[in-house]
Each structure stands twice: as structure tokens, then as C-alpha cells.
Amino acid sequence: MLTDMKLRIAGEPLRRQSVRRAEERARERRMERLYRAHWADLCAFIRWKFGGGPPDPEDIAQAAFLRLAAMPEPEAIQNPFAFLGRVASNLVLDDIRRGRARARSIHELRLAGGGERDERPCCERELIGREDMALVIERLKAMPATRRRVLILNRVHGLSFAEIGRRMGISGPAVRKHLVRALQDLQAAIEGERDGRSGAA
């Protein structure tokens, strides 16, 4: 801001280089503003959406800001928070896929007694594919109403455990217990089907 004013006061035509430098500084300031406006919210969003990691929510938030900064025209993005949230979600899923591919290649190395490296693309199977989602939905419908309600208030409405407790007239630990059971249940639905498929094959 100060630099701009000085330049204007000087009233001289700006040289090319100083124009670029001024643009860079303006860009940095914009990033700084975005960072201040969204950093805490983005970390909280990642933690709400995916839990505490790994990957670490703050690492992901940092990486998402770097992606935003690397955009050719970050100011053209209408809703920076939505962009950051989307990038962060993709980064988390990439990280999980990489971790899984790593674990698998180690496992296969062990099985093959140290054979070739697994060169298959790491993302051949979606983490949560369409079939998985259908199973999840079936399991949701069969879930006890209170548990489903707690899950919906947290996943759809983004309410904290304490808020859910207040709204439903149950204790915070009860909310947590419902969510743990719901998550366990949904994961079991996916794993059960996967084992069934590989068992049948």
C-alpha cells in the first residue's frame, strides 16, 4: 500500500521492472489476505471432513495454499475457500492412495520374496467407488434412526459433537459413540462386500 502511494506521489512513469515488482508485491499481499482469512477455517474444514489424519490437516492446508498461489490468476477464482477446500480434499485422497500403493508394494515385495516393484498406477480403483457408495447408502437406511440422525447432523450440517448433543438432548460422549458405531458399520459394509467379491473370484 505504502509503495503504491509513493509511486503515485512521485507521479513518474514507472519502469518495467518496478511494475513487475509492484505486481508481485500486490500478489503476495493478496495471498497474505487470503491466508489470514481462510487458514484457520481450512484447517478446521479438513479436520471436520477427514478427521485428524494422516495426512496432517495443517500440512494439507499449507499445500492447498501453495496450489492456489501457483495458479496463473488466483484473483480470478470466485470463491477461494471452495477452491482451497476442493484442492485440500484431493490432496488428502491422493495421499491416502499413495500410502495404500506403498503398503501394497511392500506387501507384494514380501510375498514375491523381493521381486519386481509394483508399477501399476496407484489409483486404478477409486477409494470410495460407486458400488461402495451404494453399499454405504443401504447400510445408512438400515441404521437406527438416532445414529443416522447424529451422522447426518455432523456430515451434512457440519454440527460439532457438542451442538449435536444439545440439539438431540443427548450427551457429548453419546454423540461420539454413535459416530464411532456409524463409521464402523459403514466401513464393515464396504469391507464385507470387498471380501465377498474377492472370495467369489
Partner: protein, 360 residues
């Protein structure tokens, strides 16, 4: 975190339980190095721990995505307990000072009045009576409702029992010498505590009932409202509340085994008396109809299955059907009933079946 691996359950189940516990516990954040250390040592103790946790992380995130929201949102009907909690909060605010009536909407079904089921009732009662008496105020109505597919028992303050059918709502106003229940939707079976001085009234669309102590059932369908009597004497009127005297115009007196069909749209039409073989068979999970209107049957069925029905014309709704099936077979009964009438159905939009005559 103390989690002992004891009791039934496979190892996979244990891993899932532990992973879910960690995920939920850590998702609230907060700085707790000891917890984090314990988590990472758990995670690294077994590659299956790490894998399960990672997959759950992806699943947990996927639950917030569009695809899940589309499914979750229709399921988000507020629960009884939740609305009860909202009501309790309102009562607390009410006790705090005057002007509280403004917040209450006695007319609207969706209003934040009381909701409770038998589940909530045991711990509700002391709180209800614990409120300071306000004889200057009208009786605060209480709403009781049930989710689709579930039947609940409710004990009213006067000692009457109500069996509330699936996906049904009643509004209860009892106190100051008044006993009045409005059946807003669905069906209810009433076992009314005897009190000759204070008649018990049930208001339903197109049919109002007056009793002093008896057992009867009321169902609000799409086209008609049906009342059937198990024991005792019931007065029904299509227009206004029934009076104590018999032989009032537009009023009929029913005794055990009698039923009445009232048209919701047409109050001028006389009440039609029928014999009922099995009063409120739905209480034992059986839906039975003799010459009933298709619209009413489908309205009943839609309280047990996820689908709703949309009829191409009113004429279709007045087709007569005789059928009997168990509530859990309601979904299978639909195609059979429609086929019997020569009707077809197709998926109109999410969760709605459109019923029509075949194209030719």
C-alpha cells in the same frame, strides 16, 4: 484410550472399532501430544491398522460429498428426541418470563411443539409436571409423531393410551378439563380412560369423534378418514364436534365392530357406516382392506415403505380394493394391487412412484 480385545468379534471388527474410535476422537482436534503418540503407535503397530484408518478417512470424507448428501438429506427428518429437546429448551425459556406464547405456533404441524414417543416419555413426565401451573394460559399442545415404519405407544396425561401408527402425527391438548387429540396424519388407536364428565374428542380430517371411555381407531387417508370401534360407544360427526345427544344431523353413533368412512373433501356427504372385522389390524402388523379406496391404501402403504405415490387422476384413487398383507410385505403388495386393477407404475422422481393406466 483403553480398549481391551475381549468378548466376541473377529479381529477385523476390532480393528474397525479401534480405527473408528481414533478417527472420531481425533477429529475434534485439540492439542494432546500423549493422545497423538498413542494413536501413532497404534497405527504403526500393524499395517492393517494403518490401512483401515486410511480407508475410513476417505469414507468419512466421502460422506460429505454431493453423492452422499443427496441420499442423506431425505433421511434427515428430525428425531422425536431431538424435537423434544427443542421443546424442552422452549419450555425453559417459557418459564423464564412472559411473552413466551409468541414463539409457540399452535396451528402448525411443523411447529416446535413437543414431540415425544414412549422412548422419551419416562423421563419426560416429571419435567412436564415440574413446570409451574399457568391456569391463565390455554393448554399447551403437545405433538407426538412416529417415523415411517415404526409404531409407538403413548400414555397421555389423563391415563388414556394411544398406539400411534407408522409415520403418524397427533396433537394432544389435555388439561384444564379438556381432552382433545387431533390426528394430523396417519392413524392412531385410542384406549380412552373413562371420564364421563370430560368427554374425549378426536379431530381428524372430515371426522370428529366424541367418546367417554372406549377403544377405537382413526386413520387419515388421502381421500377419506376412517373410524372403527373395538369396544364401547363412539359418536362421529363430519361437521363440528359431536354433541352428547344422539340423532344430531350429520352425526352417527358407532358401537363395537362398527366403522365409518368420512370424505375429507365433501363435508355434505353423509357418513358411511361399515362393518369392520379387524379393528386396527395394523397394530399387529397386518394391513387389511375390504372394498377400500386405492388412494387410502397407498397412503397407508407409503407410511411403511420409502416410496410415495402420485396418482394420475382422482378416478384412480377411488378404485376399490380388497387386500390383506403384512406391513413388512407392503412394498411387494403394491405391484400386486396395481396389477390386479390393470394399472402401471413408473419411477417419477426420487422416491415417487407415478401410478397411471397403461398407455394404450
Amino acid at each position: 484410550m483403553s480398549m481391551e480385545r475381549s468378548g466376541p468379534g473377529t479381529e477385523d471388527e476390532w480393528i474397525r472399532a479401534e480405527a473408528a474410535e481414533w478417527l472420531i476422537r481425533r477429529s475434534e482436534g485439540g492439542h494432546d501430544p500423549a493422545r497423538e503418540a498413542a494413536f501413532h503407535s497404534w497405527r504403526l503397530a500393524d499395517p492393517r491398522h494403518d490401512r483401515c484408518y486410511a480407508e475410513m478417512t476417505a469414507l468419512w470424507g466421502a460422506m460429505t460429498e454431493e453423492e452422499a448428501l443427496r441420499v442423506l438429506e431425505p433421511l434427515q427428518r428430525p428425531s422425536l428426541r431431538e424435537r423434544w429437546a427443542a421443546w424442552r429448551a422452549r419450555r425453559a425459556a417459557a418459564a423464564a418470563g412472559p411473552g413466551w406464547l409468541e414463539g409457540l405456533d399452535f396451528g402448525g404441524m411443523a411447529a416446535a411443539l413437543v414431540v415425544l414417543a414412549v422412548l422419551a416419555a419416562p423421563f419426560l413426565v416429571p419435567r412436564l409436571t415440574g413446570q409451574p401451573a399457568r391456569p391463565d394460559l390455554p393448554v399447551a399442545a403437545q405433538i407426538y409423531d412416529t417415523p415411517p415404519g415404526e409404531i409407538h405407544q403413548v400414555v397421555l396425561e389423563d391415563g388414556s393410551h394411544v398406539t400411534l401408527g407408522a409415520d403418524s402425527t397427533i396433537r394432544v391438548a389435555i388439561g384444564n378439563g379438556r381432552r382433545e387429540v387431533s390426528l394430523l396424519s396417519g392413524e392412531a388407536y385410542f384406549q380412552v380412560a373413562h371420564d364421563r364428565v370430560h368427554p374425549f374428542y378426536v379431530r381428524a380430517r372430515g371426522a370428529n369423534v366424541r367418546v367417554v371411555g372406549t377403544e377405537f381407531s382413526v386413520s387419515v387417508g388421502k381421500a377419506t378418514t376412517r373410524v372403527s370401534v373395538e369396544t364401547g360407544v363412539v359418536d362421529v360427526s363430519s361437521d363440528g364436534l359431536p354433541a352428547a345427544s344422539t340423532r344430531r344431523r350429520g352425526q352417527v353413533r358407532l358401537t363395537a365392530g362398527d366403522g365409518v368412512v368420512a370424505w375429507q373433501q365433501d363435508n355434505g356427504r353423509p357418513l358411511q357406516t361399515v362393518r369392520v372385522a379387524n379393528v386396527a389390524g395394523w397394530r399387529s402388523g397386518r394391513l387389511a382392506y375390504q372394498g377400500a379406496y386405492l388412494a387410502d391404501i397407498l397412503a397407508d402403504i407409503s407410511r411403511y415403505v420409502p416410496e410415495k405415490f402420485d396418482l394420475a387422476s382422482d378416478g384412480i384413487g377411488t378404485l376399490r380394493v380388497t387386500a390383506s398383507f403384512r406391513a413388512e410385505e407392503a412394498a411387494d403388495a403394491v405391484p400386486a394391487i396395481l396389477k390386479g386393477l390393470g394399472l402401471t407404475s413408473r419411477q417419477a422422481r426420487d422416491g415417487v412412484l407415478f401410478v397411471d393406466w397403461p398407455d394404450e
